[in-house]
C-alpha cells in the first residue's frame, strides 16, 4: 500500500551542512516541521515551567522556609502559570494539531502555510519576550525584574502605581503577541478542516481529532480575541494614561476580571478539547473497536463549546455579584458537566467488550479517564456558589485545576506523544521506559495533587510564600513536595526515552499500531508532500477498508 515515494531533488538530508539544515527549519512552511517546532519549543518551556513549580514547592515544604524571598516567590508563581498555559499547553496542542490535521484529512499541507509559520514565530517571539523580562524587566526604577502580578493580573495591581518598571509590560505584550499567533493558528485550523479534506471525507466521516480541533479553533477565535482586546486596553492604561481599569478615575477593576475570565474559562476547554481528541483516536485503536457513539461525541463537543462560553463568572463568585448572576453561572457550570460526562461514557463504551492492549499510550489514556473524572467532580463542587464562597482562593482550587491540567491534559499529551512518536520520528519508543515513565508520573501526580486538596479544605490560601506552623498544614505540604520528585523523575525518563529512541529506536514502519486513520497510510516520517496520490475515503476508518476489503466499514455507515 501507500509507501510509494517520489524522489524530489534537493531534499536529501545526508551530507548537507548543518547551517543549511537549520536554515531549512527557520524558513520552513511545512506543517510537519512547524508542528515539531511547536512541540520542541513547548517541551523546553515545560522544563522551565517545571523548574519554577519545583522552586515554589521547595519554598513551601516546611513552615517559615527561607529558600526564596517573597518577591521571588511571586515572580515564580506568575511565570509558572503564564508559561504553562500560554507557552506550553497552547503551543504543544497547536503543534500536534498542525502536524496531524493535514495528515488525517488527506491533505498535503495546511490551508495557509505561510500564516502557519507566522503564527508559530509570533508564539515563539511572545515566549522570548516574556522571559526577556528577567533581563530587561526592571528598567530604570530598580524595580523587580520578572512579572509578579499572578497569571490573572487583576487590576489595580497592574497599574503604574503598583507595578513599577517594565515587568508587567513584558507580560502584557507577550500575551498580546502570542494571542495574535493563536488567532492565526485557529483561522488556519478551521479553514484547513473545512476546505482541504480529501475526496469522500464528508464532515460525518472525518476523524474525531479533526472534528474536535475544529471546535477548538472556533473557541480560540471567540475566547482568545477578548484577551487580546483586554491586553490592548491594559497597554493603553499603562502607556497612554488611560483609565479602563483605574478605579481612581471611575474605572472598574471588576471589568478586567470579566474580560480576563471571558477568555480564561473557555481557555480551559480550548486545552481539554484537543486532549479529548487524542483520547478519541487512541482508545479505539488499543481497544480494537471503532469509537462508540461517533455522532454523540461530535454533538457533545459542540455542546461543550457553546456552554463553556457562558460559565466564566464562576471564577468570580467571591467578588460579590448579585444572586441572579450567581445562580446563572452555577447552573451553566453544572450544565457543562453533562456533555463532558457523555464523552467519558463514550470512551468507556469503546473499551467495553474490546480487546484492550495495555501499551504506554493506552495506560496514559486510562489514567486520564480516572483523573479527569475526579477533576470534574471537584469542579462541580466548586461550581456550586455557596461551596465556592468557602473554598475560593484556597489550595483546594489549586488542586482542582492541576487535576484537570496535569491529570487530564498532560496525561493525554503523554499518551499522544507515545502514540504518534513512531509516525513523527520513524522509530519506536522503548516500551519499558515508557511504562516506567507512566508509573513514576502516576505516583508523583497522586502524591502531589491528591494531598493538595486537604490543606485547602483546612484553610490554606493559595499564593502565600510561607505559613505558620501548627495549623495542620505541615504534613500535607511535605507529602505534596515529595511527589514533585517522582514527577520530575518521570519526566526525566520521558526525555531519556525520547532522545534514545530518536537515534537508536527500532524502525517503526508505516503502521505500528494497526490503526485506521490516514496518517498511518504514509511512510514514517511522512514525506514532504504527505501522500503521493491524494487518497479517497469512503468511511470513518479508511485503513480498515483497505485491510479488510471483504468487510469494509462503508457498508454499515
Amino acid at each position: 500500500m501507500a509507501s510509494e515515494t517520489i524522489a524530489i531533488t534537493g531534499t536529501a538530508e545526508i551530507g548537507r551542512p548543518i547551517s543549511e539544515r537549520l536554515h531549512d527549519w527557520i524558513v520552513t512552511v511545512d506543517h510537519k516541521k512547524l508542528g515539531i517546532l511547536y512541540i520542541v519549543y513547548s517541551l523546553i518551556f515545560l522544563v522551565i515551567g517545571g523548574v519554577e513549580a519545583t522552586i515554589i514547592r521547595v519554598q513551601l515544604i516546611v513552615p517559615h522556609n527561607q529558600f526564596v524571598s517573597p518577591q521571588v516567590f511571586n515572580r515564580m508563581m506568575t511565570m509558572h502559570g503564564t508559561t504553562m498555559i500560554f507557552f506550553v499547553a497552547m503551543p504543544i496542542l497547536f503543534g500536534f494539531g498542525t502536524y496531524l490535521i493535514p495528515l488525517m484529512i488527506g491533505a498535503r499541507d495546511m490551508a495557509f502555510p505561510r500564516l502557519n509559520a507566522f503564527s508559530f514565530w509570533m508564539t515563539a517571539f511572545g515566549g522570548l519576550l516574556l522571559y526577556f523580562s528577567f533581563v530587561g524587566g526592571n528598567g530604570l526604577y530598580g524595580a523587580g525584574n520578572a512579572p509578579d502580578v499572578g497569571w490573572w493580573a487583576y487590576a489595580p495591581l497592574t497599574s503604574r502605581a503598583f507595578s513599577v518598571g517594565h515587568s508587567t509590560d513584558f507580560w502584557t505584550l507577550a500575551l498580546l503577541v502570542s494571542g495574535v499567533g493563536s488567532i492565526g493558528t485557529a483561522v488556519n485550523f478551521i479553514t484547513t478542516i473545512l476546505c482541504m479534506r480529501c475526496p469522500g471525507m464528508t464532515l460525518g466521516k472525518m476523524p474525531l481529532l479533526a472534528w474536535l480541533n475544529l471546535v477548538m479553533g472556533g473557541m480560540v477565535i471567540l475566547a482568545v480575541s477578548p484577551l487580546t482586546a483586554a491586553q490592548a486596553m491594559l497597554c493603553i492604561d499603562r502607556y497612554l494614561g488611560g483609565h479602563f481599569f483605574d478605579t481612581q478615575a471611575g474605572g472598574s477593576a471588576v471589568l478586567w476580571m470579566h474580560f480576563f475570565w471571558i477568555f480564561g474559562h473557555p481557555e480551559v476547554y480550548v486545552l481539554i478539547i484537543p486532549a479529548f481528541a487524542f483520547l478519541s483516536e487512541i482508545v479505539p485503536v488499543f481497544s480494537r473497536k471503532p469509537i462508540f457513539g461517533y455522532p454523540v461525541m461530535v454533538a457533545a463537543t459542540v455542546c461543550i463549546g457553546f456552554v463553556s462560553l457562558s460559565v466564566w463568572a464562576h471564577h468570580m463568585f467571591t467578588v460579590g455579584m448579585n444572586s441572579y448572576a450567581n445562580s446563572f453561572f452555577t447552573i451553566t457550570t453544572m450544565a457543562v458537566g453533562v456533555p463532558t460526562g457523555i464523552k467519558i461514557f463514550n470512551w468507556l463504551g469503546t473499551m467495553w467488550g474490546g480487546k484492550i492492549h495495555f501499551r504506554t499510550p493506552m495506560l496514559f489514556c486510562i489514567g486520564f479517564l480516572f483523573q479527569f473524572l475526579i477533576a470534574g467532580l471537584t469542579g462541580i463542587m466548586l461550581g456550586a456558589s455557596p461551596f465556592n464562597w468557602q473554598l475560593s482562593g484556597s489550595y483546594f482550587v489549586v488542586a482542582h485545576f492541576h487535576y484537570v491540567i496535569v491529570g487530564g491534559i498532560l496525561f493525554a499529551l503523554f499518551g499522544a506523544f507515545y502514540y504518534w512518536f513512531p509516525k513523527m520520528s520513524g522509530r519506536m519508543y522503548d516500551e519499558v521506559l515508557g511504562k516506567c515513565h507512566f508509573w513514576l508520573f502516576l505516583i508523583g501526580f497522586h502524591m502531589t495533587f491528591d494531598f493538595m486538596h486537604i490543606p485547602g479544605i483546612l484553610g490554606m490560601p493559595r499564593r502565600i510564600y510561607t505559613y505558620e506552623p501548627g495549623r495542620g498544614w505541615e504534613i500535607w505540604n511535605l507529602i505534596v513536595t515529595i511527589g514533585v520528585v517522582f514527577q520530575a523523575a518521570g519526566v526525566l525518563v520521558f526525555v531519556v526515552n525520547l532522545l534514545w529512541s530518536l537515534f537508536k529506536g527500532e524502525p517503526a514502519g508505516n503502521d505500528p499500531w494497526d490503526a485506521w486513520t490516514l496518517e498511518w497510510s504514509t511512510t514514517s516520517p511522512p514525506p514532504d508532500y504527505n501522500f503521493a496520490t491524494i487518497p479517497v475515503v469512503h468511511s470513518r476508518r479508511p485503513l480498515w477498508d483497505l485491510k479488510h476489503p471483504e468487510d469494509p466499514d462503508w457498508k454499515y455507515e
Partner: protein
Amino acid sequence: MSAAVVAPTRTEPEWILPSRGRVGMISLIVAECAIFTIFVVAYIFYIGKSLSGPMPKDVLEIPIFNTICLLSSSLTIHLAVRALRSARVNAFGLWWFVTMVLGTIFLVGTGREWQHLIFEKGLTVSTNLFGTTYYSLVGLHAFHVTVGLIGIVLAMIFTLLGKVEPVHGERVEVFSMYWHFVDAVWVVVFTVVYIIGR
C-alpha cells in the same frame, strides 16, 4: 497511496469544498467581532461614569458626511468586484479608485475630528473615562480602516500597472468582505458613540 483506498462500485459525486479564502476571511472577521465586542462593551459600561469633563454631549458632533462616505464605499467596492467578475477591468479600476477616495475622506475626517477634540476641546486618552474609551474604540476602527486602505492602495497600484485580471476576482471579493465588515462595524460604533453615548 493508491488512487483509491477501496474501489467501490458506487458512482462518485463531484467533490466540492468551500473556498479557502472565504472561510479564512469569515473566521478572521468572527475573531475581529469578538475584539470589537469587548471594546464596545467597555464603552457602553463606562457611559456617564466619567468623574470630570468634557462630556460627550459637550464636544461630539455627529459625523454625517463621514458616515455617508464610508457606507457608500461598501457599494462602490461591491460594484468594483462585480465589474472584475464580468471581466470589465477598466470599470473595476474606476470603482476601486472611488472606494479608495471615499475611504481616505473618512480617515481624514476622523483625523480632523480628533484634532478638534485634542487641541480645541482638550480631550485626550488620559483626560477622563470618556476620552479613554472614545479614542480606543474609534481608534480601533480607524486602525482597521487604515489596514483596509493599505490593501486598497496596493490593489490600485497593481491595477494601474495592468496586473489585475479577471482571474483575481475571487481574491478581490475576499478582500471586499473585510471592507464590508469594517463598514458594518462603523454602524455599531456610530450608534454607540454618537447616538446612545451622547
